[in-house]
Symmetry: C2
Amino acid sequence: MRLHPAARQEMASPGTQRAAGCTCPHLSPHPPLSHLPLSRSVRVQWGYTNPISEYVHYSLFVNVSIVHYDSCLISFISLPPLLPSLHRIKASGLKLQLCTNETQATRESFVRKLRALGFDVSVAQVTAPAPAACHLLRERGLRPHLLVHHDLVPEFAEIDKTNPNCVVLGDAAENFTYANLNEAFRLLIGMEKPVLISLGKGRYYKETDGLKLDVGAYMKALEYACDIQAEVVGKPAKRFFESALAELGVPAEQAIMIGDDIVNDVGGAQQCGMRALQVRTGKFRPSDENHPEVKPDAYVNNLAEAVDIILQEL
Amino acid sequence: MRLHPAARQEMASPGTQRAAGCTCPHLSPHPPLSHLPLSRSVRVQWGYTNPISEYVHYSLFVNVSIVHYDSCLISFISLPPLLPSLHRIKASGLKLQLCTNETQATRESFVRKLRALGFDVSVAQVTAPAPAACHLLRERGLRPHLLVHHDLVPEFAEIDKTNPNCVVLGDAAENFTYANLNEAFRLLIGMEKPVLISLGKGRYYKETDGLKLDVGAYMKALEYACDIQAEVVGKPAKRFFESALAELGVPAEQAIMIGDDIVNDVGGAQQCGMRALQVRTGKFRPSDENHPEVKPDAYVNNLAEAVDIILQEL
């Protein structure tokens, strides 16, 4: 897959406006990949300032929220039609890492469900906020009070939770009770320097019975009440994507993020130096194409189209 | 009550720093009232740019949160010791208006409780957010979905609530369930132009069993999820204080706010052109004396001291 240097130049011309608030100097907004003069005969340079080897490994980040926008605890209703595309990625030899902000289940449970549905991945192929939070807690000697979904608690099994000196907030769903929120608040406000670690900052998500407030909304409630700022360890945090890249063993410029969330997937990956495609499925909204801060490197109509293009151009 | 013009001049000298963010040109921070050269023989001019008649009526706003910081639904534990001061105000002929952000009960219920405790006030003497919200709803033809305390619902008895086109948020307490918050969110996100009316923006408050998140925290959660800004009708909103002044029938410069909340009471009243005393009880924290944006016109140790000073100087 390659863009002709001249075509890249044209896209980055003064006529192309830079997305406000984006600080990545090497990234600029582009028309949909499908409109680009792709050629099998030349390998893509992606317009990076540092040229990449012609035989670069393209690692595909697949954001699980395009695999299923429903909670993985309830159903994987959107997964089956995507399986052929995922199998094609695997068969191509491309490395694949699933990046999810899912905090309603452990990675083990997540992988079990994927396998049951016919997609064989390992736990190491899943980057999720809870393990990132555990890493941070150990690093800083923090003992968390957990306000998370009960199915996520095992991820913190080996973390000392006595005499808490921070609060870890996940998408607690039914555990977001008045009593539990007050308890987390009281612990925070009682700390000399309140530390709130949030496993994401999503606004809302969709389940079979409708839209639900996501962890970000509750994070904002606690931030306001305590006059503090939470530390976010899920997408779009830089450390989250760095951890995924480390797991893959590839530099940012050799990885492609495919996601449906303009801020968490596309914006987060781009800020880490990756290129990112936005699929027009799941969370995608037509208004995303006019987002004031984030511009994907390309749009694709669905995962199958993204995989088609990438595999054709390898 | 009066400050000698020379003393006022001295207080407003360049050595006295203006509170950041305050836009009221005639208000400046002062040392505690008790430190001022008060004199019975001269009436206070309060340093306003427009001179006030010597025989001005001082109307006393008593913020109920200094009368009781506990929920009025549970107990009025702090009220009895304050009764003598409240009776003294009444006997002096000063007008009195209770300004509360209480949204866990109707004004009728609130007044009944005050009377049962020996303080006889009328419903008209209570300014509260719910009636202000009703006024706004009628004015704009809005039909609310209510996420409020069940004891407050009667305040909205005469408001059309069919086919909601806005959400009214109060301190719903136990009604702040995951399901109710999701329901309010879904209604908002489904509106072409979501309208969220909040009966206050307090961060938290204290009850006998500890600190509780206040309506402001939940307001922030919905604001973030829907990417909107709520309209606040309780303190410190300007329209709230204007409504209280209208009820009293006095201009702002003739009213004094006494409150324990540096932002909601003191800041709100000052922005409306009133002077405001902060009592060092209830919500008061020593750090309030270094608040970056709001400086009370004076500090008093408690309500009795405020009343002593005001009555002495009449």
